[in-house]
Amino acid sequence: NAGVTQTPKFRVLKTGQSMTLLCAQDMNHEYMYWYRQDPGMGLRLIHYSVGEGTTAKGEVPDGYNVSRLKKQNFLLGLESAAPSQTSVYFCASREATGGRGQETQYFGPGTRLLVL
């Protein structure tokens, strides 16, 4: 049981390049999330998904797109990377029980992205 895994671990991009970050979970969780972590700002929600084929915007969605074609995978895309997107990106997942806010989110190890 690997939990939540993220690919790649580290990437350097030039401004304007595109890339996709992959998040995979083997816990059969319904909900998945993408966060970005910046110094002094904690984690901020970019996009999330409440099930296969669904996505929704979080706090800071601009410049990112996501897809959830398979339940176990949640992809985060940057179509035209900008230096402001230099960050550490975390994926999380949780099971679909209750939904009132108390359920635990399980996090992946993160992807460090540097945009030059």
Partner: protein, 116 residues
Amino acid sequence: AQSVTQPDIHITVSEGASLELRCNYSYGATPYLFWYVQSPGQGLQLLLKYFSGDTLVQGIKGFEAEFKRSQSSFNLRKPSVHWSDAAEYFCAVGRGITGGGNKLTFGTGTQLKVEL
């Protein structure tokens, strides 16, 4: 809107000393509160959570936290710190969101340094 404040950016304690990390939240309803720990280069690991019942909750690694509604606080404590506890600690408040799932709002984190 919900918010979380961690007033201490950095804290240094000696190994064996007691620890208290502060967390204050702002939320209109019954809060669901979490403490996560992030070791260098790692993802976030759940230490403990509160959503109802006893206001003193026990977590992993000897940590505990006390929910005080009157003070809007959820401070994390450990009676005797170990060098391996050096990490960044995040407090978060969760709530349900439209369409299911939950949304976590994180504080900006407290970096703990342990002196030997």
